[in-house]
């Protein structure tokens, strides 16, 4: 059980990253982004593409420390982040911004994001097929912790990266002018405009950051398990459940929500088939909607 909890924290760290991304978008762009899961998938596959290119060129094939993957993948994080963030920004420019200008109702944004999600997924299916892919075929080294807990070294990496990113986002939002401006727009977009902050520009920032988070989350999940075109879609429920649990809008809430969701999903495997993980997320979300629709950290 303890072991499952630890695994839950690892999964939860990845979910938390995504939930923060969804929360930022929900609060600043003011929409539910149903393409978010597929952006994670996109990030993961871009990293796969780049690391495959490296291995074809025989470049950067050395293993990174005690981990299962090589330097090629480490470097591949960068294009994955940049391209996914870039795609998010382009979708915003081509699709969401025109809709906002037209004054479309909020639900339309969700619908259109669904369209983008399917287009992205279709592209990934076509380029890579429906089969599973792995970043590294090699054995995954383990480490043994007290209390009989076995951890893969990769999982330590995942935790460190995820938590470092969460800390970075937190610092960005509370210490950096641009981050504070993002919170200002989330608080009161009209007043932000009056203060000379361009909301459209802040939305571009948000899309960029959320896209970057999606890419990292996707790659980390790829390292933890394997890649397939449906991976992001299956993540969507836990992500939204975490964000709603943590009351959409609060970063701290998304973090805690992500951890709760990760732990609940892993611990549930003690009784349920692992394939039920998305259902567990759904059930938790239903319970939250039933008993605390404003989320745990809800302000009202």
């Amino acid at each position: 059980m303890l072991e499952l909890t630890v695994y839950g924290i690892i999964l939860g760290s990845i979910i938390a990253l995504g939930a923060i991304g969804i929360t930022l978008i929900a609060h600043i762009s003011r929409m539910f982004d149903f393409a978010y899961g597929d952006k994670m998938t996109a990030g993961a596959y871009i990293a796969l593409l780049v690391s495959t290119l490296f291995s074809m060129g025989g470049l950067l094939q050395g293993k990174v420390g005690p981990f299962s993957f090589n330097w090629g993948l480490m470097v591949a994080f960068i294009p994955a982040i940049l391209i996914t963030a870039g795609l998010s920004i382009l979708f915003n420019r081509w699709v969401y911004e025109p809709l906002r200008r037209r004054g479309a109702i909020p639900i339309l944004f969700a619908m259109v994001s669904m369209g983008i999600a399917f287009a992205l997924r279709g592209l990934i299916y076509i380029l890579w097929g429906a089969d599973y892919h792995f970043y590294s075929p090699s054995v995954r080294p383990m480490i043994f912790l007290p209390l009989g807990i076995k951890l893969r070294t990769d999982e330590v990496f995942i935790m460190v990266v995820a938590w470092a990113l969460v800390a970075l986002i937190y610092l960005f939002l509370t210490r950096v002018k641009m981050g504070k401006a993002l919170r200002a727009v989330a608080d009161n977009p009209d007043l932000a405009r009056i203060a000379g902050i361009s909301t459209e520009r802040m939305i571009v920032w948000t899309e960029g950051i959320a896209g970057a988070l999606a890419a990292v989350g996707g790659v980390l999940y790829g390292i933890e398990t394997q890649l397939r075109p449906e991976m992001g879609w299956l993540f969507l429920l836990p992500l939204f459940a975490a964000a709603i649990l943590g009351s959409l809008g609060s970063i701290r809430g998304a973090l805690v929500g992500g951890l709760v969701m990760g732990i609940a999903q892993q611990v549930s495997t003690a009784w349920l088939l692992p394939t039920y993980k998305p259902a567990v997320a759904f059930i938790i979300m239903v319970l939250v909607l039933l008993f605390r629709p404003q989320g745990i950290f809800g302000r009202r």
């Binding site: 339309l108 279709g122 076509i126 097929g129 299956l234 998305p278 979300m285 239903v286 629709p293």
Partner: protein, 323 residues
């Protein structure tokens, strides 16, 4: 001259059956989204409930050798119409449950909850073989009025049955929408507070709309199941079960039942035409991946409609109330 008229006709009949079933789904969504503004991203869930309910209600429990291979918890061996009715009712009950949970909250919560329901059901039928035989699903669903015509003509008969349902549902919805009931739905779509200030219980009407739409989807599910005579969890994917229907309604005309039907036929034509094209044009090595071109096609189609022609091909009429 090798034109096989019979072949073409039979191809057209099977095309029309599927298109008409999808037109039914599209009309169900039109009640929810087109007239009421409710976002159901889990049509696949109601599709699934409808199909499985009718399957479990109309098939007998497996006996003999079959019982060694097929697990099935329920098997009521009832006629087709009972199965369709049961499908509608069960589907409506699930919709009511989801509605009670989410309809008082922000609109997007319904969207995410219906996705959740659809995915959970798919997992459930996949992983609980005792209920409906797990991933293999159920086969041998009874075909209504089978034996009335020679088997090679059966598709025409089933097409007639589906079209009869389509017509009945069309008339029922049209009557509802053009009546004061529909007027309240359309008022809520625009301004819930104002509708409430006119003395209408907004929550109850939204619930009704969700349930009526889901019942129609349940019927669609049952019609599909009896057409293919088989149900499997893998059918009810987000694309095939939900998203394509959104594309149909959006293309045809949100808020217009004729549009909903038109969209069903047009998008299904695009879908099956591209299947045909892929099978015959794409090189063999690429055959397994090529069908996903349709994901991109349908995804982009929806985005473009929303950006360029949000009303669809036939938009809503100006004066809808007409009774």
């Amino acid at each position: 001259m090798g034109i096989d008229i019979g072949g073409i006709l039979s191809f057209l009949a099977s095309f029309a059956i599927m298109a008409a079933i999808y037109a039914i789904f599209s009309m169900g969504l039109n009640v929810q989204w087109g007239y009421t503004g409710l976002v159901n991203f889990g049509i696949a869930g109601f599709f699934c409930i409808g199909a499985y309910t009718s399957a479990l209600v109309t098939t007998p429990l497996p006996t003999g050798v079959l019982a060694d291979y097929v697990d099935q918890a329920i098997g009521l061996n009832q006629p087709f119409l009972v199965g369709v009715l049961a499908a509608a009712i069960t589907s409506g009950l699930w919709a009511a449950l989801i509605g009670l949970l989410t309809l008082r909250l922000r609109a997007d919560y319904l969207a995410i909850s219906t996705i959740g329901l659809a995915e959970t059901l798919r997992l459930f039928f996949n992983n609980e073989p005792w209920l409906a035989n797990g991933p293999e699903g159920l086969v041998g669903l009874p075909k209504p009025l089978y034996g009335l015509v020679p088997p090679q003509y059966y598709n025409y008969l089933y097409l007639a049955i589906v079209l009869a349902f389509l017509a009945l549902i069309y008339i029922a919805i049209e009557r509802g929408i053009r009546s004061p009931w529909g007027r309240v739905l359309r008022a809520m779509r625009e301004d819930e507070v104002m509708t409430s200030a006119n003395g209408k219980n907004v929550f109850l009407f939204k619930l009704q709309s969700l349930v009526v739409g889901a019942m129609i989807m349940g019927i669609g599910g049952a019609l599909y199941a009896h057409y293919s005579a088989a149900v499997q969890p893998s059918l009810f994917t987000p694309m095939f079960g939900t998203f394509i229907i959104w594309a149909m309604l959006s293309l045809g005309g949100t808020g217009n039942n004729k549009g909903a039907i038109l969209g069903g036929f047009v998008v299904w034509a695009i879908w099956s035409w591209s299947t045909f094209l892929i099978r015959n044009v794409v090189p063999a090595g690429f055959q397994t991946r090529a069908p996903y071109i349709r994901y991109i096609l349908i995804g982009l189609l929806l985005v473009i409609i929303m950006l360029r022609r949000p009303k669809g091909l036939i938009g809503e009429e100006r004066q809808v109330s007409r009774f």
